[in-house]
């Protein structure tokens, strides 16, 4: 198993109820696999599928990106910086 740190922001954090958590995954798991797992646990996240961005270690990533032990994964709900 590998361990990754997951960060939640804005609407995601409101749904998940925490700003970050450590999660254990099968080796070879992808960003998309992790998102699927989270949507199972928190069905209200499903509304974000298809309209979120992904980051691994603070760089943009895709659902196909493979995760490694120690990675920091962020699920980025639709951004709204500026005004």
């Amino acid at each position: 198993m590998i361990s990754v740190r997951v960060r939640y922001f804005a609407g995601h954090r409101d749904i998940v109820g925490q700003a970050e958590q450590q999660m254990a995954l099968e080796p070879g798991a992808t960003v998309g696999d992790l998102w699927g797992l989270l949507v199972e646990r928190h069905p209200r996240l499903a509304g974000y599928s298809g309209r979120l961005l992904f980051a691994v270690n603070q760089e943009f990533a895709s659902p196909a990106t493979t995760l490694h032990d120690g990675d920091e994964v962020a699920f980025i709900p639709p951004v709204s910086g500026g005004v």
């Binding site: 922001f9 804005a10 961005l53 603070q58 962020a74 709900p77 951004v79 910086g81 500026g82 005004v83």
Partner: protein, 139 residues
């Protein structure tokens, strides 16, 4: 200015002066400053205040990356972007984008582009706190 950083996420009030001083070099004829400020309504509904949150460790580098995109597209000089987080009263500045360039058309185009891209990809979120007490994330 010893701790000045051109791309920054901060919870302190924003001041354009150090950004303008940083971007301007002797070859520049134009400096465009965009300030995004908290306004008192959205779609006709009165707003009490705004709050912003950022994935700060990533947002700063993303702002720098957006500036590089602009520099690859137009012959411009330096760019600086500061974005505020935390609670903002109406009239307070949420974001400053400052672009210097030899000529004005490129400075305008690049500043507008940087702002468009911030709204597309910078990991920063705005929560609208309506005058009636409700709050919602802009998504």
């Amino acid at each position: 200015m010893s701790d000045f950083r051109p791309f920054e996420i901060t919870d302190r009030p924003l001041d354009p002066a150090p950004l303008v001083a940083y971007v301007q070099t002797p070859g520049d004829g134009a400096v465009v400053t965009f300030a995004g400020v908290a306004r008192n309504h959205f779609g006709g509904r009165p707003t009490a205040f705004l709050s912003y949150e950022a994935y700060a460790e990533m947002a700063g580098p993303v702002l720098a990356q957006i500036a590089e995109e602009a520099r690859a597209r137009w012959p411009i000089g330096r760019v600086a972007v500061h974005h505020r987080v935390g609670r903002l009263a109406i009239g307070e500045t949420a974001v400053l984008v400052v672009v210097a360039a030899p000529h004005r058309h490129e400075a305008f185009a690049a500043a507008a582009y940087v702002m468009d891209r911030i709204k597309e990809i910078a990991p920063i979120w705005k929560q609208e706190h309506w005058a009636d007490g409700e709050a919602e994330w802009r998504e």
